[in-house]
Amino acid sequence: MSRQTEGQQFASALGMGNASPEGPRGDSPVLPPPAGPLYEAKPKPGSARAAEGETLEVAVGPHHPSTHGVFRMDVVLDGERIISLKPRFGYLHRNHEKLCEGGTYLMAIPYTDRLDYFCSLTNNWAYVLAVEKLAGVEAPERAEYLRVITAELTRLLNHSCLVGFLLQDMGAMGTPLMYAFREREKLVDLFEELTGARMMCNYMRFGGCRTDASAGWLERTRRVVDDFPRFLDEFEDLLTSNEILLARTQGVGKLSAELAINAGVTGPMLRASGVAYDIRKAAPYGIYERFAFRVPVGEHGDVYDRYMIRMLEMRESVRILKQALKEIPEGPVLNPKARRRNFRPPVGEAYGRLEAPKGELGFYLISDGSPRPYRFRIRAPSFINLTILEDMCLGHTLQDAVIILGSVDIVMGEVDR
């Protein structure tokens, strides 16, 4: 009996069947694949092995502990090496955009909380930024400071939890995650005190913020921010020089700068690939020009760089927060000219974007002069950063794919919208 038939028997005995060389089943191509030199169609790796029946087709997800929600990767394995990986999503699709087109401009704000439910405040801000661009509304000084403070607190929250999740994906029994959540608790307590809710803050409005921060809140925030570097030091002691972490992350999931830019990858992932592009610096919004901070840039674009960029970014966020908390002026937090009800921006369109913790979060709005947006589009960083998931994972093992996915930092609420 030849090896080939043995392999086939082995596979069919396990009920696995043969992996089709074209890719996972269920594809329904609508148009024939393009002919043309511009888009270099990826060669089908390992097709010969697949024909021999030596490959294993595994659907990782949607009910899988490490897919960060209902996300699925259709993976073709050769041994434990990945030779094809197709991300599948939409399990959490609720047509957020249509939902918001059906309501007024104000009604969309609480929905934006639920996009990336870890960072509701930056979502709020990105949306009101687009509306403010569209309607030409400006926010008062104090509100701008509060926006920066809440956005940077959100960044601390997101990055620390992400590192925790990443280590969880690496199998660290949740210890770093628990430490991150310990700190997150302090941050969400601050959010609750300021906005009334821990996660779904619904805080920002066109032309300002909904509520003002008390002196006590600012004081407590200062304390939390001052304590935060201590936690970061501890975190780094625990992780950064850990040999297992180094071995697992260095050289894994490399992403070149060219591909990262071309694929529209943004946020810490892009900077880990060596591109110094942070919208806070490149096209400052709000009052970010006033603060002194640096943008950490990686070199290798692997998982370790992505991890380290986030750790370093947290330290920079602490720096911004300290400045903002020192300089915050007194004053109103809401522009009295900005209406909430019957808010009708002029006819036109606007694209507002900011540096959310996960990448560039953009809102594209078209107004037809009515109280409802004609088109409401969310440019979700998690979604677009997934474009190159397959490119990063090919040739690595299933174990690596899990942490590569973890290092992309996705939240399904935002991917599926």
Partner: protein, 228 residues
């Protein structure tokens, strides 16, 4: 919005960091033979006005926008679709008439029925030069059967999933896309949910507390109870 005077005024503005729209149009039309760009003014945010690129030139135009150092728009941030239904538009048309007193411009307001179309909108930035956005659009001929535009995925990989999404939710077919499948809806789904005339299927999932439309639906689906 359709006032040509205003429009040409807006055309003199420039997107952040880039030459003015007029200049951009000149450069592009010079480099691509036969290209005619339509300027779409945006009164609310003039620096985010856009160009409508004819589908047959889209790929070439996009390549110039990416590779020409005057633009260097290496980063396609956002791709999205817009559904424009059939509508009656009022257009102001300027006639130039030569009379005895000299040249005279006559404004005429014309109402015409504009057939609906689908639109794909691209927001382009430059990471290298830190500028943008330049907004370009492609339009389909109608909303029913001639819904093809050129895919720009060969130029910007970031359009891959986003164009799939536009195809999925709006039904715009991207010619030249490497892997045009549904992305958020399931493969067997028939309609395009983000279209303005989308009718949601008449299904009803039990709701404990139906009100308004849901209550009517509940009565229809569960005539003997369920609804209050």
């Amino acid at each position: 919005m359709r006032d040509p005077e205003k429009s040409s005024e807006l055309e003199e503005t420039a997107p952040p960091g880039l030459p003015s729209f007029q200049e951009i149009r000149r450069i592009l039309e010079e480099r691509v033979e036969g290209l005619r760009l339509e300027f779409i003014p945006n009164p609310a945010a003039p620096d985010q006005s856009s160009f409508c690129v004819p589908t047959e030139f889209a790929l070439e135009t996009a390549r110039i926008l990416r590779d020409d150092p005057r633009f260097a728009l290496d980063f396609c941030s956002n791709v999205t679709g817009v559904d424009w239904l059939d509508q009656t538009v009022e257009e102001t048309i300027l006639h130039r008439e030569t009379t005895d007193e000299g040249e005279r411009t006559i404004k005429e307001i014309v109402r015409r029925r504009r057939p609906g179309f689908l639109e794909a909108v691209y927001h382009l930035y430059s990471m290298r030069a830190r500028r943008g956005p330049l907004v370009i659009r492609q339009r389909t001929a109608n909303r029913i059967d001639r819904v093809r535009v050129a895919s720009l995925t060969p130029i910007w990989r970031s359009a891959e999933f986003q164009e799939r999404e536009v195809y999925d939710l709006f039904g715009v077919r991207f010619e030249g896309h490497p892997d045009l499948r549904r992305i958020l809806m399931w493969d067997e789904f028939k309609d395009y949910p983000m279209r303005k005339d989308y009718v949601e299927p008449d299904d009803y999932e039990y709701e404990p507390t139906p009100q308004g439309e849901a209550a009517a639906k509940a009565r229809r689906h569960y005539p003997y109870g369920g609804a209050r």
